[in-house]
Symmetry: D2
Subunit: 248 residues, 4 copies
């Protein structure tokens, strides 16, 4: 059991209302307590023995942060988009802070966004009716496809365009990550039951060793949907232990 937990993708589960607290925790974890999340190091690979900066750098170079769908049409109510995720706006500051901490640690930051053709010909079938007259959710070049206010792609970050739920579906994300030696993922963004979850499951199928969802930097339409995702995973994968492990 411990060994499968060690390999399994896991979740941080805390009350949604404790954002401030969680971010502090996240920062502490990212700045040094993260040794426990990379339990399986391939034979011969660099194995740090202390918490010196260099050791940390080696460790985080194997981790990427996926920031998913943090675009105006998804998180900014002012856009009036039909694909707005009600809980999205509230986590923008948390996402911004998570990204800042990640950059500081040398974690590779990937901005996963949707950018669709004005015709809607590259969107899911069930959403194509939303596109007409050159407009529709996250059409490339329109304001709705831009990142939410307060979020920016910086030099060294990577922008990846997807057209379906999963960041891995019909994209070269796995190629970019694996050839850099990325083994662990931290996922933030919207929305929990669809794009977040589908990306997480694909990552497990693609054998990333650790896939962490930051519960306070992800969101869904409603808190109960957001939490239901985690409940499911707890029960079926038994990830609750990993939470304790991370907190330790």
């Amino acid at each position: 059991m411990p060994s499968h937990l060690a390999l399994l993708s896991c979740l941080l589960v805390l009350l949604l209302s404790l954002d401030k607290f969680l971010l502090h925790y996240l920062k502490r974890w990212l700045s040094g307590g993260g040794g426990s999340i990379i339990p399986r190091i391939p034979t011969g690979a660099f194995r740090p023995r202390s918490h010196r900066p260099m050791a940390a750098a080696g460790r985080w170079s194997e981790t990427a942060m996926l920031v998913i769908d943090m675009q105006k049409d998804f998180v900014d109510p002012a856009m009036g988009s039909p694909v707005l995720v009600a809980g999205g706006e509230a986590v923008v500051p948390a996402v911004a802070e998570a990204v800042a901490v990640a950059r500081e640690r040398g974690i590779f930051v990937v901005w996963v966004v949707r950018e669709h053709d004005p015709s809607g010909r590259d969107v899911e079938l069930f959403r194509r009716h939303l596109y007409s007259g050159g407009k529709g959710p996250t059409v490339k070049g329109l304001k709705g496809a831009e990142l939410a206010d307060g979020l920016f792609i910086k030099e060294g970050d990577y922008k990846l365009v997807k057209t379906r739920f999963s960041a891995f579906f019909a994209t070269h994300l796995d190629s970019v990550l694996k050839t850099q030696g990325i083994k662990n993922l931290v996922v933030v963004g919207v929305q929990t039951p669809n794009c977040i979850r589908q990306t997480v499951y694909d990552a497990v199928e693609l054998d990333y060793e650790k896939v962490i969802v930051l519960i306070d930097a992800t969101a869904a339409a409603r808190p109960d949907i957001h939490l239901a995702f985690n409940i499911l995973s707890f029960l079926s994968w038994g990830c609750t232990k990993s939470y304790t492990q991370l907190k330790a």
Copy 2:
């Protein structure tokens, strides 16, 4: 809204305790009332005007049934497998009946199974510790990989081997289905939050027009997990209408 419902993958949601009732309903639906589930017919395709047998045959030839992971190690408690799905055994009769009805209607039946190398080298990383000494869950050739008692692959059915949650991950399933003109899927088997759900989402990403999960022929470890999956989808995709639509 109605149009996106028409294109959207949907769910039948009824009380789990009403199995008998549901199967009767399913049979009735499969035998004629299914016209409403294929609302979007490509220009020029065969469009039936009555419920004559030929019309039905034309319609069902575009539908496939995916029977997922109904193997002894997953559903037979006697195997003592670590991957047993607690709720699995109870739905074996429902799956058997659903398959029988499907065959009767000319629906293409695909048995999606796991068959792993004794070394475990083709299983998810987090499950590899379960393989040693030539044994492990659903090892090819061992009893645990066989279909549950009462389920059989018949001539005309198709067996597809997968190595991850989704029936579409790293398999030729999409190729087999699309080149036959399959546009709609009916999904049965175990278990709801992982293999079932991942297959359903992949199917939506791959633009199958209808993806129906038969709620009484699928199962999870516990009823609340099984239902949580549906609750999620209801809330985020708004599929409740499809239930009414199917019943009509």
Copy 3:
């Protein structure tokens, strides 16, 4: 034999020096003589009985043209790029004319281009040494990634970014094409033995019914390499007949 030819991807083979003649032929073919290239029409689909404009429109709506890698770094010697394809510049006019004819017929035009990160982290391993100091072949935003002079993306066309040889590798191209009902492909661009050939073979694996390479609108480093590709395919697939079929 006729039946497998009918389903097989084929090639136009004419002397490279006869460009002018070939384009005239191509235009004639695209404007009406193309009926023979779509021999297998699914039951019930629109089946034109004459060469009226409407019939042609119906037919060409199932065909897409893939324009591959026609970017300055690949075809413009003035760029001095290490990835220059020697024979590329000479076919720019032919590609431009082929695209013009395609648009006129209502064929969906897809501009397949490479756009790489300045770090080279999304390029093939064997090419990564070409990237440093924010520069390298077809880096996104730099001049070398632009289309060759004389080529333009127009409204209604589609731009698809790839990171490997094949237009289908880790992209959503198949998704865009299949959901539009595209069954046949016409391929132009550079270079024959790598990106062109790999795209063609992937298309055959993905079950496009017809994959036509326009021999005078594709190029390689040298004429013998360009032709060797066709010789290979002739001998192993027996496509020479299709040439006659197309000319007829």
Copy 4:
């Protein structure tokens, strides 16, 4: 140039008539002279300094041998199959010996085979006319799908079923290889311009560091087709140096 060669997939090119000589060479290479083919070792990985057995073991554990389509229908003229590769039978002994040497070195051997449904529903469109009455090329369970006489799958080897040219198309091969740390591939089997070449190019796209085609353990319909493949790659990728490198 040396650096891109070092990363590039390469080819052994010798006269086809020198089989005996080549195999001796191959054996010598596999038994110790192979140090030069793994020039790029990730930071921190095991780097052997001598030719002691242990060092060799470490090195070869990162290499897999793909044996492609060595089935009766492809290489045994007695089967009278329409998919027979004329040059296939002649390389069976070479393939057998290459596999033996590979096993001896601890190289992971993968037997890539086609096994199709009797209906032909999982074969390429252009080959489906070859299937009827429960028969057709390499139908699962029929004699034509068996390995050629003299070839056997042993314990520790892996059998992988594919349905298209490439061993990577819609299969879990990449997943099996990458999670074992495989970085280099040696390819044998039939036939050069289709399944061999397509597999090799896919492997390059998937960022395997070295992809070696053993020219005397691969074959096509005719020697000139077999060689044309290599000529193409020489000219476009400049692999000739690798031949020298390997021979050294």
